[in-house]
Point group: C2
Chain length 425, copies 2
């Protein structure tokens, strides 16, 4: 099979007609599938259902320090849940706060706190003008939405398989109005890239001009491997210690994609100075998070060994879905010079790169055929993919049969959009 750019106009027209016909056939099947978000499927959720039995009316309802988890208090979480996250992340318990069901909420609230109260003794960001964030892109759309909501300007930083382009990032942070960066350092959303040791080291060693520069280290897929050990991510705080930059990083994790996305437990890891600022706010914002659910999770997981075993069961559900997508791409798109894709060893996403200017068209064609993908451009600040070429694939939810059909449709749409482009030149 030769690359499509070498085909004659006649060959392209023939291909175009064939693909249109193929898509019309697909449309007849009446598939209606939403693949827009990275959420677990029903069977995967079932694997966590014993969580609901971990705590019942007969259970002991006190934490190991004798605190009644049903009552008010323990702002920073029950000690055994702190210990669990401490062990999982690899930071001391005193650097952990265990919170509610959403790490996104933790990140939003942290940015909000910086807007109204500032950090590191600096002016609130709302009182500083032209506050900006460095944004490795493509990245997690909800990070960008938080920044957009608060009117923080976003600067695209190209992503490489080793993480953000560190030469560019290092330059960008020389501007003191650049106040931070969101990132997903392991199995990045949407590529599934894991930051290399060198990248982590260079981030920890950064000397941003802004004293109140903060890296929001969204370690969403910290134990979310498909195969055995998976990618190894260097723990950022260990590197920060070497550079005295612990105050630069706010790390968040959650069990949303270990147990239930709607009813998990989240945690913040941060330096003492940052935790003090966060606790000062939290002590006004709430009397405590849901400690019953924290205890429920500890009883369910027992320890990090329990988490890792549980994640192996989750992987059974995810691995075949990712394998199917990669297999379809290999079979239908490789060698045609019209697509590239990532092949992650964990996480929830695959990034598909189509010819420049084709991503929105592919997503539109898929929608017409009954397959809803993440909106083209969503993985970029302001929803604007400068080359309109990236498509986020979220294979976790659909049943395998439907996913297979969806991938056939997607591949046909990628082909069609690419041929359309070649014909239009």
């Amino acid at each position: 099979m030769s690359e499509y750019r070498f085909l004659s106009r006649g060959e392209l027209l023939g291909l175009h007609a064939k693909l249109k016909e193929q898509l019309a056939e697909f449309c007849k099947t009446g598939l209606s599938l939403d693949m827009s978000r990275g959420k677990p499927g029903g069977e995967q959720l079932n694997t966590s259902d014993l969580l609901l039995d971990a705590l019942n009316s007969k259970s002991v309802k006190t934490s190991e320090n004798g605190f009644d988890v049903r009552n008010y208090g323990l702002l920073d979480g029950i000690p055994e849940c702190k210990a669990l996250f401490s062990d999982l992340i690899g930071v001391p318990e005193e650097n952990i706060i265990v919170c509610g069901n959403s790490s996104l909420n933790l990140m939003f609230d942290y940015i909000s706190q910086c807007m109204t109260h500032g950090t590191g003794g600096c002016e609130p960001w709302m009182k500083q003008s032209g506050v900006k964030f460095a944004c490795p892109a493509p990245g997690y759309d909800r990070h960008f939405k938080v920044l957009e909501y608060f009117g923080i300007d976003m600067i695209n930083i190209p992503m490489t398989p080793a993480g953000p382009d560190m030469d560019i990032l290092t330059e960008v942070v020389k501007d003191s109005s650049v106040k931070g960066m969101f990132c997903v350092p392991k199995y990045s959303n949407p590529q599934g890239f894991t930051f290399s040791d060198e990248t982590v080291e260079r981030i920890a060693a950064m000397k941003p001009a802004a004293k109140d520069f903060r890296v929001i280290w969204d370690n969403a897929y910290i134990v979310h491997e498909f195969y055995g050990e998976g990618d190894r991510l260097c723990e950022i705080f260990e590197r920060c210690k070497a550079h005295g930059s612990e105050d630069m990083v706010i790390e968040v994790v959650s069990s949303s994609k270990m147990t239930y996305p709607g009813a998990g437990v989240s945690a913040i890891a941060a330096s003492k100075a940052n935790l003090n600022e966060i606790k000062k706010r939290l002590s006004i914002q709430t009397i405590g998070h849901d400690k019953v659910n924290q205890l429920r999770h500890v009883l369910f997981f027992k320890n990090t060994g329990g988490i890792r075993s549980h994640m192996k069961i989750q992987a059974e559900h995810l691995r075949p879905r990712f394998a199917l997508v990669i297999d379809k791409f290999e079979k239908n798109l490789s060698g045609k010079g019209i697509a590239a894709w990532t092949n992650p060893k964990g996480g929830y996403f695959i990034n598909l790169v189509v010819p420049d200017g084709c991503a929105a068209r592919v997503v539109g064609l898929c929608r017409e055929a009954g397959v809803t993908l993440t909106e083209a451009g969503a993985a970029f600040p302001y929803g604007d993919d400068p080359t309109d070429s990236n498509i986020r694939i979220a294979p976790s939810c659909p049943p395998l049969g439907e996913l297979s059909s969806a991938m056939d449709i997607l591949c046909a749409c990628v082909e069609l959009a690419s041929v359309e482009k070649l014909l239009s030149i």
Copy 2:
């Protein structure tokens, strides 16, 4: 018994010596009791333990609209939980968002939202200068702490048994920099007062100069009666409708003091315009609250009838505690001209008024004798009780025996502080 102010210096000195001796005896018992917060006791919490069995691994885990409660989504809560709160509060379901475990969190986040984004089309409060709140006082200390955290100036509004002094409030809101008011309209914290129909009507009819004036209607004790029907509070939104002022009110409720303080469900009731602003923020802040816990609560309560029955069981625990406090006050303090107290029919608090300048002394004397009360002044903006005469009593938590000893100590401390004051004149 004559009032202490009519006693001779000699009589006062004799009383002083006797009270000192009495307190020294109390101190010997080694009581150590924390009555500083209004939290339920262990036995009261036990009455809600079947909540933990309401949902287990075998349960149906979909909401009535077919949504898997374990997964992401349903930002405004599951419909059956919305219906429950709708029926409880008496506002339509479309005016409800069901959230996480803390209504304090909802209020904090709402104020934060007004700080960064404003409301009603007006400038963010952080961009306006000298933003103020009217503060009925004594009131709930955590409300004042939220305002203090955001640097919002607080103006004391005297409280009457019918609610805030409406003549003063009506004057104060003529200043366009006054942006709102927190209040607990039923069984107010700390008095246990319920706003009269006239007060509710006058609040709904207010025409504050600020277009972005908001009343945070913290209906924390909406069904928290000790005796039968309890106080009747006019539903604010019904009155607002008559005056076209629905956008002026944000109501919050929670099940913190129905089931578990740490693991309940909270809800906001607001106008469509306000809910749109809130949802716009929430859609960036989280992907959804804990819907598993929402479903758990619906299965536990079933309906508002179930809530009311459950609250009758809770009342069995609270009623004798409140009766004991009132009884001790009657027996030990009445007729002496040194104290007045409220006698609420529901809620979590009693307000004790001692002679001017004596509250901090009483709290200090109690602490020395092993009884920790809410800090004197806490129920006022900036922790400053202008007359140093109010003490919040939170009888809900201690076992009856300990509460009885604590009240003996408190009464002796009130007497001693009052005698000290009379001797110092």
